[in-house]
């Protein structure tokens, strides 16, 4: 196959409609980084193990390194660049700072995507559950203690607010 196959692709990236032509072999992380110039999504292992590349596809955390861009036809993709106005993410960012949940920052975009999923999907999660859910995101700097505390802090704040409202 010398003439490389290409496919048309239409999807939504961070709320913006995007039409592109991609090689089917381009994975979503490379498409986002190299064709959309959204370099907030990091690539670590390209085997689905480290979680650095985790983005939201149709609202749920997805490994962008093992998801072909072409298979995201019609999908809504959200990367770390799209969360400036997101209240939950703002809360998580503040908690990450307070608890020292990042150092070099390489794992952070994937960690935040996963953290947001934990606090929204599992409002009752305790420390053991946070650790279980976070096991698919590797961090070589922090030792996880700060990360687990940061997510726990946001969960607790949300639970307190719910109590106050109830």
């Amino acid at each position: 196959m010398n003439d490389k196959p290409t496919s048309p692709l239409a999807l939504t990236v961070n709320g913006r409609k995007v039409s592109a032509v991609v090689e089917p072999r381009t994975h979503l992380a490379d498409f986002l980084r190299e064709q959309q110039l959204l370099t907030g999504t990091n690539i670590g292992c390209e085997q689905g193990v480290c979680g650095a590349c985790t983005v939201l596809v149709d609202g749920v955390p997805t490994r962008s390194c093992i998801t072909w861009a072409v298979s995201c036809q019609g999908a809504e993709v959200r990367t770390i660049e799209s969360f400036d106005e997101d209240e939950t993410m703002a809360e998580l960012r503040a908690a990450f700072t307070a608890e020292h949940a990042l150092q070099c920052g390489y794992c952070t975009p994937g960690m935040l995507a996963t953290a947001r999923d934990i606090v929204t999907r599992l409002p009752q999660a305790d420390e053991a559950r946070i650790r279980l859910e976070l096991s698919g995101n590797l961090c070589r700097c922090t030792g996880y203690v700060g990360l687990v505390r940061a997510i726990g802090r946001v969960l607790e704040a949300r639970r307190q607010r719910n109590l106050a409202e109830a």
């Binding site: 196959m1 490389k4 196959p5 496919s7 090689e23 089917p24 072999r25 994975h27 490379d30 390209e46 085997q47 689905g48 979680g51 985790t54 596809v57 749920v60 955390p61 997805t62 490994r63 390194c65 093992i66 998801t67 072909w68 072409v70 298979s71 036809q73 996963t114 999923d117 279980l132 859910e133 096991s135 698919g136 995101n137």
Partner: protein, 279 residues
């Protein structure tokens, strides 16, 4: 690393998918969630000429009740994701067994995309669905150029990574009988790191209403070892006699004294204890 170049097609029907696979003469592959193919292609362990994406085929999505052979059964579409099952977004015939198995597969981000059909077709002997569906007594529905057929999940693996599936066939779904209200089950997966493939799997499914007590020794080098009548084994394990498992462990190809024999025996003991707890 990056995958080698390939062509991509997204057929709307099973017939079309089968035709595309047949035309690929062995170099075309079906694509489910890509959660096994993606890593293999990025590492260039797999270099198909083309991928046939099954996710747009309506028939492979969702799940429906469909009495078969006088029994109440549920058909789970091949493109149902692990997360769909974990969250109970399907009509569960198994009294919580399948959701529990699903929750232990990989990580949430992988479960959000990986599919039941893809996992079965991949046929890793350490994977969860090939083992769980075998002990559940499920049937796997397959479509090929010659039509449709059904394969018992217990006989699905011919060997490691070798399913009873031709290159131009697709998995349509998995069919399970409804378990009775009195059914009990256990599933013990031994792995060192959360989200990893199993080093050992043991499971029991007991359903008095269907006169059934099945056991499983799984995550072997080859096909799972299903114990069709596990009453004696279960009773002995629950009475604190682990040596009672030795004959089945040897039959499963695990020589006495080996590390594998040891961990599979421990897995069986724990699965038996879990079942007791479920009572």
């Amino acid at each position: 690393m990056k995958a080698a170049a390939f062509d991509y097609a997204r057929p709307a029907s099973g017939d079309e998918a089968v035709a595309l696979l047949a035309a690929g003469t062995g170099m075309a592959k079906a694509l489910g969630g890509g959660q096994s193919l993606g890593p293999m292609m990025n590492l260039r362990l797999a270099q198909p000429d083309s991928l046939v994406d099954l996710r747009a085929i309506a028939e492979l999505r969702g799940c429906r009740r469909d009495g078969t052979g006088g029994m109440e059964t549920v058909l789970i579409g091949a493109c149902t994701t692990h997360a769909d099952i974990e969250d109970g977004r399907f009509d569960d015939p198994s009294r919580g067994f399948l959701p529990r198995v699903a929750a232990g597969i990989a990580y949430r981000a992988v479960r959000n995309r990986g599919t039941v059909g893809g996992s079965l077709a991949h046929a890793d002997p350490a994977a969860d669905w090939v083992n769980a569906m075998a002990v559940a007594g499920a049937d796997i529905l397959v479509q090929g150029p010659a039509g449709r057929r059904t394969v018992a999940a217990a006989g699905w693996l011919q060997g490691a990574f070798t399913p009873a599936l031709a290159e131009d066939e697709i998995v349509l779904g998995v069919r399970l009988a409804q378990w009775s209200a009195a059914a009990r089950w256990s599933y013990y997966k031994f792995n060192r790191k959360t989200g990893e493939f199993a080093e050992a799997i043991a499971a029991f499914v007991v359903d008095p209403a269907r006169d059934l007590c099945r056991g499983l020794i799984g995550a072997l080098d080859g096909p799972p070892h299903v114990i069709a009548d596990a009453r004696g084994l279960l009773a002995a394990l629950q009475a604190g006699d682990p040596a009672a498992a030795d004959a089945e462990l040897v039959a499963a190809g695990l020589p006495p004294g080996s590390y594998e024999h040891h961990i599979h025996r421990a897995a069986l003991q724990r699965a038996a204890a879990q079942l007791k707890g479920n009572a």
